[in-house]
């Protein structure tokens, strides 16, 4: 029977099966960042003047800011002049109208990743999923646009929404995460290229799951996507994003901003399966994932849930948050983060209770192996008007081996005496006795590890839409692959 050390050794050898590169001709800007680059991006996308001004304002603000250092992560700072801020497969100045116009190499890439872009492939399925595929800086395909439009749902690349629904974009863009919110959000506001735009009209329940699949392909480029989801009164939407990148020795930057707006009685479920390239076993290469995700529960009785399965990236800096502004609004955060080898993750959430009777739930599960370090960092703030607000937080960490670490930084600010907070935290090691018990019942060691880890994550996986729970399970298995000595 392998010991924990052996398991750990095998974990370090895990394979990253999305690590291939697509050989495709790209239109890529030379590395560097200045106002001309921003003007160039804006011109490429044929943007209105207001958006260019908005970008430039963000850029000028960014120049005055410093990269944050408070997170418990250690990395070589990015040289922002050495990366390219725009890369698009040719020819793709605007999204293609049908799949026939999509480069077959791109279709093949998504096929290989298991993301089918052909609508008929879904017809046999019980439930449909609409996909927006973002490749480097542009959206290359969006499926089921027509069917969604019949229901009144808008689902398109944000670059297209700027032209087709300018009043919606102008009203909501930056209304949750302002341009100068933080260093990475400011950078994103200046140079963002593509991402998804979703609008669910009043009273509409989105007829299918929506998902966006982000792929970084080009060398030395950053991906700066921007996603904006607006759920109008009484509407409902479930959304998933997935991410992968090729294996490269250089670190690549991914600085995204996601803004969610939920009006009265609206509900948004946002799930992420993040599998960016994590770097090799020595910590060479991998994605720097510096992401700002925030939901504004603007309306009374609105609900937002963030569910994330984070297995990739060299560095993760990410705190999907909820501003519970509306009375009786509800925010939830469910997270599973797996770090192996030299991966570092500083992740958690912020629940800002402003309205009365607001409720939030935080369930965070961290799994560390190898020399990986992981931190849960969470803020629960009860504002002075947040009468009877409630929060429940549970943070569990599972350690594999003795060189990894798990840390918990819960911050609590309460300005209203009627608020209730509960916090539970546990740290455990995967037990040799649990492994032996499973093996004695006939499971191989690898199956036993998978079963124990999946059991540990069950509370969170239960929150994923059925279609994606399977994907999450598979990812976990890949992450822990070869764990038998």
């Amino acid at each position: 029977m392998a010991t924990n050390e052996e398991i750990q050794k095998d974990l370090e050898k895990r394979e990253y099966d999305a690590g291939f590169t697509t050989d495709i001709e790209s239109d890529t800007l030379p590395p560097g960042l200045n106002e001309d680059v921003i003007r160039h991006i804006s011109a490429k996308k044929n943007e209105p003047q207001w958006l260019l001004d908005w970008r430039l304002e963000a850029y000028r603000h960014w120049l005055t800011m410093e990269e944050p250092t408070w997170a418990a992560v250690d990395y070589t700072p990015t040289d922002y002049q050495s990366i390219s801020y725009y890369s698009a497969p040719k020819p793709a100045d605007s999204g293609p109208d049908s799949l026939d116009e999509v480069d077959p190499k791109l279709l093949e890439t998504y096929d290989k990743l298991g993301i089918p872009l052909r609508e008929q492939e879904f017809l046999a399925g019980v439930k449909n999923i609409a996909v927006d595929a973002v490749f480097d800086s542009v959206s290359v395909a969006t499926t089921f646009k027509g069917k969604l439009k019949d229901a009144g749902v808008i689902f398109c690349p944000i670059s297209e929404a700027v032209h087709d629904y300018p009043e919606l974009v102008q009203k909501y863009l930056g209304s949750v995460v302002p341009q100068g919110d933080n260093f990475f959000a400011a950078l994103n506001s200046a140079v963002f290229t593509d991402g998804s735009f979703v609008y669910i009209p009043k009273g509409v329940r989105c007829p299918m799951e929506l998902s966006t699949y982000f792929r970084i392909n080009a060398l030395n480029t950053g991906q700066f996507e921007r996603t904006l989801i607006i759920a109008d009164e009484g509407s409902h939407v479930s959304y998933l994003e997935g991410c992968t990148a090729p294996m490269r020795d250089e670190n690549q930057l991914h600085a995204a901003v996601v803004e969610l707006v939920a009006l009265d009685d609206a509900e948004i479920k946002y799930a992420t399966v993040q599998n960016w390239y994590p770097g090799d076993e020595n910590g060479v290469g991998g994605i720097y994932n510096f992401v700002t995700k925030r939901a504004d529960c603007r309306g009374d009785r609105s609900k937002v849930s963030w569910t994330q399965v984070e297995t990739g990236s060299a560095i993760t800096w990410k705190y999907p948050s909820c501003i519970l502004r509306g009375d009786d609004s509800v925010g939830k955060f469910f997270s599973v983060a797996v770090t192996t080898n030299c991966q570092q993750a500083d992740t958690g959430t912020k629940m800002i209770h402003l309205g009365k009777n607001t409720k939030s739930t935080i369930i965070s599960k961290g799994i560390s192996a190898g020399r990986a370090q992981q931190s849960y960092r969470g803020l629960v703030r009860m504002g002075k008007n947040a009468e009877n607000a409630r929060n429940f937080t549970q943070c569990d960490s599972l350690l594999l081996g003795d060189k990894c670490g798990a840390h918990t930084f819960p911050y609590v600010e309460v300005k209203n005496a009627t608020a209730t907070l509960e916090h539970e935290a546990t740290t455990s090691k995967i037990g040799e006795d649990q492994l032996f018990y499973c093996q004695q019942r006939g499971l191989s060691e690898e199956d036993a590890v998978n079963m124990i880890v999946n059991g540990f994550c069950k509370d969170v996986f239960d929150e994923l839409p059925m279609e994606f729970a399977v994907e999450a399970n598979r990812l976990m298995e890949v992450s822990l692959e070869g764990s038998v000595g």
Binding site: Y437, Q439, G442, M451, G455, F456
Partner: protein, 248 residues
């Protein structure tokens, strides 16, 4: 079925088993008794293949194969079952799901088709009735929040489903009240069969009133000191373990 010859085992440099010999045939029920620290649990753990035991000498032959060369799961596939003294809790892992994975891993190894969910549930419900295990336990996480008695019942239930050739019951009676003991013992008795061997490790003669053994062994100082029939257990109860050492 299993032949243990001159077995020497150390734990962290300390000699626990010192030349133990034991032969068990199919259809037999053996009881191993002995004082605390005699090496009873060491013996069952070594047979099941737990890590942390250093085999410094001797051999164990199981169904003609060298058992010590096999991984714990290979031993399970070959029909070795250990009912744990302290069954471990596995949060979030469904009791039935674990068992199904175990059964199907064994079937796969034997070249049989995996059982489908329907057939499996049918078997499981029958076997649960054997130890009067409430069906709600089937869908709960493995041993999580089970009482001591429920954990032990769950072990015998798993034994019933896995249908082992050699079942080792490590202090299955400890922590059971009289009613639970009767139920668990009743379950074990129903599982007695001509092609199955059962080894019970216990401190108390009480268990043997319910499950009648063919042989009783006294294990002390790392070797089998004395072997007899069930009357040996009664003598032990009367005279204590020192009497055995004096009357080898």
């Amino acid at each position: 079925m299993i032949e243990i010859k001159d077995l020497h085992v150390s734990v962290e440099g300390k000699k626990i088993l010192k030349g133990l010999n034991l032969t068990i045939n199919a259809g037999e029920v053996h009881a191993i008794m002995g004082p605390n620290g005699a090496g009873k649990s060491t013996l069952s753990n070594v047979i099941a293949g737990r890590d942390g035991y250093e085999i410094t000498g001797g051999s164990i032959t199981y169904k003609g194969d060298d058992l010590l060369e096999m991984s714990p799961e290979e031993r399970a596939w070959a029909g070795v079952f250990l009912a744990f003294q302290y069954p471990v809790e596995i949060p979030g892992v469904n009791n039935t799901y674990l068992l199904k994975a175990g059964v199907n891993a064994k079937r796969k190894h034997q070249g049989l088709e995996e059982l489908d969910a329907f057939d499996f549930m049918k078997t499981v419900k029958e076997k649960a009735a054997l130890v009067e295990l409430d069906p709600s336990f089937l869908s709960r996480s493995v041993n999580e929040g089970f009482s001591g008695g429920e954990k032990k019942r769950n072990e015998i239930f798993q034994m019933a489903v896995l249908e082992p050739s050699l079942a080792l019951l490590d202090e299955t009676d400890s922590g059971l009240d009289i009613d639970a003991l009767r139920i668990v013992a009743g379950g074990v008795n129903k599982l007695r069969s001509p092609d199955r061997a059962i080894v019970m490790i216990t401190h108390y003669q009480r268990l043997l009133d319910y499950i009648e053994p063919d042989f009783v062994h006294v294990l002390a100082d790392g070797v089998i000191q004395k072997t007899g029939d069930k009357s040996l257990a009664l003598e032990l109860e009367e005279h204590g373990y020192d009497w055995v050492k004096e009357n080898k």
